[in-house]
């Protein structure tokens, strides 16, 4: 999804930061407690969903290495590398603790981050997170979905996708999608969207956790959301109705409201 739209009045700042071997793009807006948003496999950028969050938080929306405007480096090979990457970013920005919100692929990264360094996560929000190995309910293989079926796979109401994808993609649009898919494949082709060891380590997560699952998610089965809630000590599940896996792409207001209601519990 293409995403640089912001509401009038929201001042989104673009920062280029050297993190380790690569330079990344960090989009930032708002003030208040820090909120780190980890985007889904479709790509980074700014979205109306983040506008809503930025009215209450200092929202940090980096592109993962290899996605959009962030460089791919050889040292970024898996989600474990991304965890160290984001810890490094927080250190660099002097942020001791943040609300961490992650969607899908980003939800997986967020969960791993909270497992690794629970004290850095004030509150954890997982939007239909990937990451668990559940052979009995595997995620859909997004890599093999033909382009013409992507919208139907990600959205409950395909009409909601209008304007989010270029109607007549040009060379640059295709290259952006290909580059993002390549980064996605780098992190998630095998093991496919999971870390077999994640589930048994979730006991380490100490922050209050909200898991959101859209009731028409054709990518990640509900069992994943339930398993996260089961394994994390202080977690609850909230179901978003009439919504597909695109979540904040499909129902930005609903998702913003749900995240804010939970995240405004504040930094401990």
């Amino acid at each position: 999804m293409t995403t640089s739209a912001s509401e009038p009045g929201v001042d989104v700042r673009t920062e280029r930061l050297q993190v380790g071997a690569g330079e990344i793009r960090l989009l930032r807006a708002g003030s208040g407690p820090a909120l780190l948003f980890l985007h889904a496999a479709g790509g980074g950028g700014w979205t109306p969903f983040l506008d809503g969050l930025s009215r209450h938080f200092d929202v940090l929306a980096p592109d993962h290495p290899g996605f959009d405007e962030s460089e791919q480096t050889d040292e970024m090979e898996g989600v474990d590398d991304l965890v160290y990457h984001y810890l490094r970013l927080l250190d660099l920005l002097g942020i001791e603790q943040a609300v961490v919100v992650g969607a899908s692929l980003g939800g997986w990264i967020a969960a791993e981050l909270a497992v690794h360094s629970p004290h850095r996560v004030a509150r954890l929000v997982l939007l239909s997170p990937a990451g668990l190995r559940m052979p009995e309910a595997p995620p859909a293989d997004l890599f093999i979905v033909p382009p013409e079926r992507i919208v139907a796979t990600l959205f409950h109401d395909p009409a909601a996708a209008e304007g989010l994808f270029p109607a007549e993609p040009g060379v640059d649009d295709i290259m952006r999608i290909y580059r993002n898919n390549t980064a996605f494949a780098r992190y998630a082709w095998r093991p496919f969207l999971n870390d077999p060891k994640l589930e048994r380590r979730l006991y380490r997560v100490t922050s209050p956790t909200l898991v959101l699952w859209p009731d028409d998610d054709k990518v990640i089965p509900r069992a994943h959301a339930e398993r996260y809630v089961e394994r994390i000590a202080d977690a609850r599940l909230e179901v978003i109705e009439d919504c597909g896996h695109a979540l904040y792409g499909e129902k930005p207001e609903d998702i913003t409201a749900a995240v804010l209601a939970f995240a405004n519990g504040g930094t401990r």
Binding site: F143, I144, V145, P146, P147, V171, I174, M175, Y178, R179, N181, T182, F184, A185, R186, W189, R190
Partner: protein, 382 residues
């Protein structure tokens, strides 16, 4: 010029409603569609055809590797090559090639090719391929690592063939503390290496640097010309002009007594190959990371190209993607294509799609008798 008889070993009987029911004959085409009775017939028939090519004086007989596919039924090409090595006399036994990066243990390829070199008394040609995009789906390997794994497996195999002492291998994708391959190959330093290219600049440069034979895959003549020119340019950058025999043109060929008869018969087989055999969506041919960003951008900037499924028989003929005709007409077409493309070897696919045995044999005979001799010693026009 050299003429090689290439076999894909296609599964020749697809259901009537294949087009409606199945997105592709590869990756997800159910193995329940494979009839063992057809299998036993065609494997033996296809080997007969390859052996006959040796008798007819073809310079090489070629097999290749594909997995989980009715398009080509040779997941283990070295097994086919072994069957051929002992029953043929003169032709090069060309494995075009082993998908080395798909292997968890690529030294197996080093071992098998070396064994084949001895079985065939030094007639083996060793092709190396990356594997088609969908083979990364069925091998559980990330296409992002396709080129890295290929390059590393290549370096490992070459070192295993040329070292005379045990060595250690500490690569990114492979790690072995004891590499000491027995047997070593017969050919010194090792069998010739052939590599196919489909537009990637990296591959052209790679082949030129290592002086490997560069092969085309099925594409319209102007596109193939771009590839061959790219290979020659890469060699030129290195200060040499490649021997035309280092440029191998892959093309389906169908010959009958008359031009009209040839087209009348070939149409269905050619359509089988391009519309059914090669029916595959871009999402499985070009998975993310399989192609470098610069190669993809180059391809996109070249403008839209019709997919095989969008090309009618006439389109395919006009684009130069098949050679069909009487011996006389085929002579002309080979002459014209050679002039345009400057290749010194042809990899001729004569069992096109579901062509029956008798018609494959007729093409083989007519071509060997009435076409090949005219080009044997003729120099490639500059």
């Amino acid at each position: 010029m050299k003429f090689n008889f290439f076999h894909l070993m296609p599964y020749p009987t697809l259901p009537e409603d294949f087009d409606e029911r199945f997105a592709t004959p590869s990756l997800t085409y159910p193995s329940g569609q494979f009839d063992p009775q057809v299998g036993v017939e065609v494997y033996n028939r296809y080997l007969d055809e390859l052996e006959y090519a040796d008798e007819l004086g073809y310079d090489g007989i070629c097999v290749n590797e594909h997995h989980q596919s009715a398009y080509g039924m040779m997941p283990a090409p070295n097994i086919m090559a072994a069957a051929l090595a002992r029953r043929t006399k003169n032709a090069k036994v060309m494995v075009l090639g082993n998908a080395i990066g798909l292997h968890q243990y690529p030294l197996r390829v080093a071992e098998e090719i070396a064994m084949l070199d001895h079985l065939s008394r030094g007639r083996v040609v060793s092709g190396f391929v990356r594997g088609i995009g969908w083979e990364y789906f069925n091998h559980g390997l990330s296409p992002v690592h396709s080129r890295e794994r290929f390059n590393e497996a290549h370096d490992l195999i070459i070192k295993a063939w040329t070292s005379t002492e045990p060595f250690e291998w500490w690569g990114k994708h492979y790690e072995f503390r004891y590499v000491n391959v027995w047997p070593r190959p017969l050919q010194d330093p090792h069998p010739d290496i052939y590599i196919p290219g489909a537009g990637s600049r990296e591959t052209m440069k790679y082949c030129a640097e290592k002086r490997y034979t560069f092969m085309s895959v099925y594409a319209p003549t102007p596109v193939v010309k771009g590839w061959f020119d790219g290979y020659r340019a890469a060699a030129g950058d290195l200060g040499y002009e490649p021997d035309p025999e280092k440029i191998a043109f892959a093309i389906p060929i169908y010959v009958a007594e008359t031009h009209e008869q040839a087209h009348r018969e070939a149409k269905a087989y050619v359509e089988f190959l391009f519309h059914k055999g090669l029916k595959q969506g871009l999402e499985i041919v070009l998975p993310p990371g399989y192609m470098s960003e610069s190669s993809l951008r180059g391809m996109l900037n070249a403008g839209p190209r019709k997919s095989f499924g969008q090309m009618s028989y006439e389109d395919l003929v006009d684009a130069g993607m098949v050679i069909v005709g009487s011996p006389e007409s085929v002579n002309e077409q080979v002459e014209r294509l050679r002039g345009e493309l400057g290749f010194g070897q042809i990899m001729a696919l004569m069992c096109i799609g579901d062509t029956p045995h008798e018609r494959v044999v007729r093409t083989m005979e007519l071509f060997a008798r009435d076409v090949a001799p005219n080009f044997r010693s003729a120099p490639v026009p500059a």
